[in-house]
């Protein structure tokens, strides 16, 4: 494979940080929160955007898309779940390791003028919501988050979140309320005009979409798709939307909730 190790630091016109150092790593059994020193990325980032991360080692050709879990001063953080080979390798990164990271990429969650925000996450789809919550809170919005997980193991990711009004559900009832994130929503007192931000597996997105329509709310969704380039070049990551087929890496990952067809 080779190659990715040796980038030329004189070409600095890209928001691409080679040899990005891990400055902190928290391992939460199957998940990791990685803090990376990446000033050029941190400076430009907005919640909802993602980075393409080169998995260290031979034998990983494609970079992995990972949402920004936070971005502050010179650092970005990523919340990574070990799902396949590559993400598993990323969760094993330790302080001092270096990775290549490109970004920030894609569209951000619109936050302007939002006073009440409801953040709905399922599984690793929760990842972009911490950063979003931070930004919304800093802008004075009232933020509530509802996170759903399959089971005890998946819910370990919750340990990474510091959102104040946070409720959790697990399908097996092992952590928080038993049921899906929809059960959490049903129990919430949602102010009219609340903006919904959703990210998670397709069935959850579809359910949240139905629920927001029913409640008369507007909102945004961050979608996942298998990616090759992450740069809008290959058309590998398209999803169907009301605006036709759109690329998650370029027109997305954030779309209006009412324009996607999960």
């Amino acid at each position: 494979m080779s190659g990715s190790g040796q980038t030329h630091d004189d070409h600095r016109q890209w928001a691409e940080t080679s040899h990005c150092r891990v400055s902190a790593a928290r391992h939460l059994g199957g998940f990791a929160v990685l803090e990376l020193i990446a000033p050029r990325i941190a400076r430009r980032a907005a919640p909802g955007q993602f980075v393409m991360v080169t998995v260290p080692g031979e034998g990983y050709l494609l970079r992995r898309p990972i949402s920004l879990f936070s971005a502050e001063a010179d650092c970005i953080a990523l919340l990574v779940e070990a799902r396949g080979r590559g993400s598993e390798r990323l969760t094993r990164l330790e302080v001092g390791d270096v990775v290549d990271v490109a970004g920030p990429l894609g569209s951000a969650f619109p936050t302007q003028g939002v006073t009440n925000a409801l953040l709905v996450g399922g599984g690793i789809g929760c990842a972009p919501l911490q950063y979003l919550a931070d930004e919304l809170a800093a802008a004075g919005a009232h933020v509530t988050a509802a996170l759903g997980f399959r089971d005890f193991r998946a819910a370990r990711a919750v340990g990474a979140f510091t959102i104040e009004r946070l409720s959790v559900a697990t399908e097996d009832g092992s952590v928080g309320r038993a049921g899906t994130v929809l059960h959490l929503l049903a129990a919430l007192d949602v102010a009219p005009g609340t903006t919904v931000y959703a990210c998670g597996p397709t069935p959850m997105i579809a359910a949240v979409q139905r629920w927001t329509f029913h409640e008369g709310l507007r909102g945004y969704v961050s979608l996942e798709a298998h990616m090759a380039c992450g740069t809008g070049s290959c058309h590998g990551c398209v999803v169907d939307t009301a605006r036709g087929k759109l690329r998650v890496c370029s027109e997305g990952p954030v779309f209006r909730l009412d324009e996607v067809t999960p």
Binding site: L61, R63, D100, H235, V239
Partner: protein, 325 residues
């Protein structure tokens, strides 16, 4: 090479691909780099700084195409598989966008697809008409075409390139539609890649590019069903490089003075030099673009170093040296 040498910028890397002068041998492989999308993500003037010696856009067809159902891409051992299915807005919408990258400071070779000779020729005729009428500065520097008769992911794609007669018909129709440089991009999914090559050259192609992707299949780990929405896709990347090199060598031997664009798994400057050693005039870089924004710059720097370190005065001196008896 483990010990890096100082760069040798004086090494002459320029090549002539038929009538097209290239500052160096590297071009992008169709479908792997979108110049406008890159420009959006770049801090400087990307159209001026474009790192490849020519730009090959994603294949354009006469009609708009929505492409294949997702998922469309994934990784394989040392490879990438894709089944995009030639998604593109159709030649008319495509032409309407030309002004946005008219300032690109590199010659352009337009990749053309279709299901019939007429469809291919329609793309070229529409573009030629536009170019003839366009005021200077409103269109990029289109120098030629690459006929993609080899996409494994659409009906009519692979089929054309695997059939010499059908290939010749497409090339003949396109030859009648343009006087510009005409490449035909060959499929590797054949017994003898020189057969379609001979047909294309016989029908008027000026040069050949190869290889497009290998028809392949990946299963979903959980369901054991085909992973890609299109069931099968096209394999590229380092995995296929040894096969691609063999095919380029065969074509270079069969058609010694023909302009050739070699490709398949180029990740390093040495890889590119290997294609040149097998007879390629220029080398296209595809999947490597997915590894880093700076892949073209890195590969070019490595190629320059490799050429210099081996004592070649020009990159042309390396051409075909793997073919000698």
């Amino acid at each position: 090479m483990s010990d890096r040498r100082p760069p040798a910028p004086e090494t002459d890397l320029s090549v002539r691909l038929g009538p097209v002068e290239l500052a160096h041998p590297l071009v992008d492989a169709s479908g792997t780099l979108d110049v406008l999308e890159y420009a959006r993500r770049y801090d400087g003037d990307y159209l001026a700084d474009f790192p490849y010696a020519a730009y090959v856009p994603k294949t354009v067809t006469a009609d708009p195409r929505t492409g294949n159902p997702p998922p469309r891409v994934t990784e394989t051992p040392s490879g990438v598989i894709n089944a995009i299915g030639l998604e593109n807005p159709g030649v008319h919408a495509w032409i309407a966008q030309l002004g946005e990258w008219a300032a690109l400071r590199a010659p352009v070779l337009v990749s053309v697809g279709g299901n019939s000779p007429e469809q291919y020729a329609a793309v070229i005729s529409a573009l030629e008409a536009h170019l003839a009428a366009a005021p200077p500065g409103t269109v990029p520097d289109v120098r030629g075409y690459e006929l993609n008769v080899s996409c494994p992911n659409v009906v009519g794609g692979l089929q054309i390139g695997a059939d010499p007669t059908a290939t010749a018909e497409v090339v003949g129709a396109c030859r009648a539609a343009t006087a510009r440089f005409l490449l035909t991009k060959l499929t590797p999914n054949v017994r003898d890649v020189t057969e379609a090559g001979a047909a294309a050259l016989g029908a008027g192609a000026d040069g050949l590019s190869l290889v497009n992707t290998f028809k392949a299949m990946v299963l979903d780990r959980d369901t054991l069903r085909p992973f890609l929405g299109n069931r099968t896709g096209g394999l590229c990347g380092p995995a296929i490089k040894p096969i691609a090199l063999r095919m380029v060598a065969e074509v270079a031997r069969a058609f010694p003075d023909t302009p050739l664009v070699g490709m398949g798994g180029v990740m390093t400057g040495l890889d590119a030099l290997e294609f040149i050693a097998c007879g390629a005039t220029a080398v296209a870089v595809g999947a490597a673009n997915f590894t880093s924004f700076e892949a073209p710059q890195r590969i070019l720097a490595e190629l320059r170093d490799e050429v210099a370190a081996r004592g070649f005065g020009t990159v042309g001196e390396a051409r075909g040296i793997a073919l000698r008896a």
